[in-house]
Amino acid sequence: MPYSERATVSEHFDIAPLPDGGELLLVTTIVDDPVYLNAPYVVSPHFKKEPDGSKWDPTPCSSRW
């Protein structure tokens, strides 16, 4: 599904405490595109906060035939 150069993306970040401790990050993303969308595209995934960054282990993208 395409989006055009006239599209705008609005992101809203909210923090919510978990009842038993910890926190959630809620990201509400709203995509408006007058070219390809008749109505805004909205998603609102949530993320659970890790105690530290020890699990953060991204690897570079590689390509192959």
Partner: protein, 309 residues
């Protein structure tokens, strides 16, 4: 004399202001937002996870929950006495409908006493009490909607629901007990209302079930349907309750076979909730072959299940 006129004038201004203020309803403070209105569902998010009978992905279930879920037969909803049973509070985000919200105010202190999320065809009205009233006794009546207290917190409306009837956390029969607690957060960003639901259940959930879903402010009031009216759907009153023996559920391995998914992932084991599980199975997982015919939007699902008889 002049002083009297000034006092009388001030009194009239004050009374006038009071009248206008009452007509407009309680003021929305800077840390709050206008919650009342019609909020339409947004089709770009699907959080229902009810496409196949046995799909417990993303849930952390107790053994009791797994057993009960596998014994559930959706034909139960065809029974006359269960057609209008309705769904519990969690259905606010699990259901397909929008949220039509109204507020009730106490004119004397001019504050909101409660918000109500209106009923839908198979869902009862849910009231969010904003007046700090005490929560009922643990032995008080449990209802489908439960008892909900709310408060403004950090720019969001936070609420907690207790006293629900035993029901479901997924429409395919995954149970939620009457001891469950549901925490809500409502955030507003322009015309978008984001709802966060955190359900905890000491009986059926090992970890909370968390769902976030967006709604969009509707310029016209949502058109809600008529109340549920039961009708004959093939099962006579007094017939047995449709169910499966848990280990003989005919759909037990359908989802697993469709996508070659591990049994523990489909059946809602705790370890499968987190990204570490992907690393655990990445060397052993074999994706199903690409769909080659009759794929449709559901891909392998349509191809393997075949046409509906």
């Amino acid at each position: 004399m002049k002083t009297r006129r000034v006092i009388l004038g001030l009194l009239l201004v004050a009374l006038g202001a009071r009248t206008v203020f009452t007509q407009a309803g309680p003021a929305v403070l800077p840390s709050q937002f206008e919650f009342a209105g019609s909020w339409a569902p947004i089709g770009t998010e699907d959080v229902q996870n009810d496409s196949v009978p046995v799909d417990y992905l993303g849930l952390a279930l107790t053994e009791d929950a797994r057993t009960r879920a596998l014994s559930y037969d959706e034909s139960q909803k065809s029974m006359v006495e269960r057609q209008c049973q309705g769904w519990g509070a969690a259905y606010a985000v699990l259901g397909p409908f929008g949220l039509r919200i109204s507020s009730r105010s106490d004119p004397a202190p001019n504050r909101v006493v409660s918000y109500s999320i209106d009923a839908w065809e198979d869902w009862n009205e849910m009231t969010i009490w904003m007046d700090d009233r005490p929560r009922p006794s643990v032995n008080a009546l449990h209802t489908q909607a439960g008892f909900t207290l709310g408060r403004w917190e950090g720019g969001a409306l936070a609420a907690r629901t207790t006293h629900i009837k035993a029901g479901f956390i997924r429409k395919t029969g995954v149970p939620l007990s009457d001891q469950a607690t549901i925490d809500w957060r409502f955030f507003r960003h322009g015309d978008v209302l984001t709802v966060l639901m955190v359900a905890r259940d000491p009986v059926y959930l090992v970890e909370p079930e968390i769902i976030s879903k967006g709604f969009r402010l509707s310029k016209v009031p949502l058109d809600f349907r008529d109340p549920c009216v039961p009708g004959f759907e093939g099962r006579e009153p007094g017939d047995g309750v449709p169910h499966f023996a848990p280990d003989e559920n005919p759909f037990l391995d359908e989802f697993m076979k469709l996508y070659n998914l591990p049994r523990e992932a489909v059946l809602g084991y705790r370890d499968t909730l987190y990204p570490e599980y992907r690393k655990k199975i990445k060397d052993t997982y074999v994706p199903p072959p690409p769909c080659s015919a009759d794929c449709g939007v559901a891909g392998n699902f349509v191809r393997r299940r075949g046409p509906t008889p």
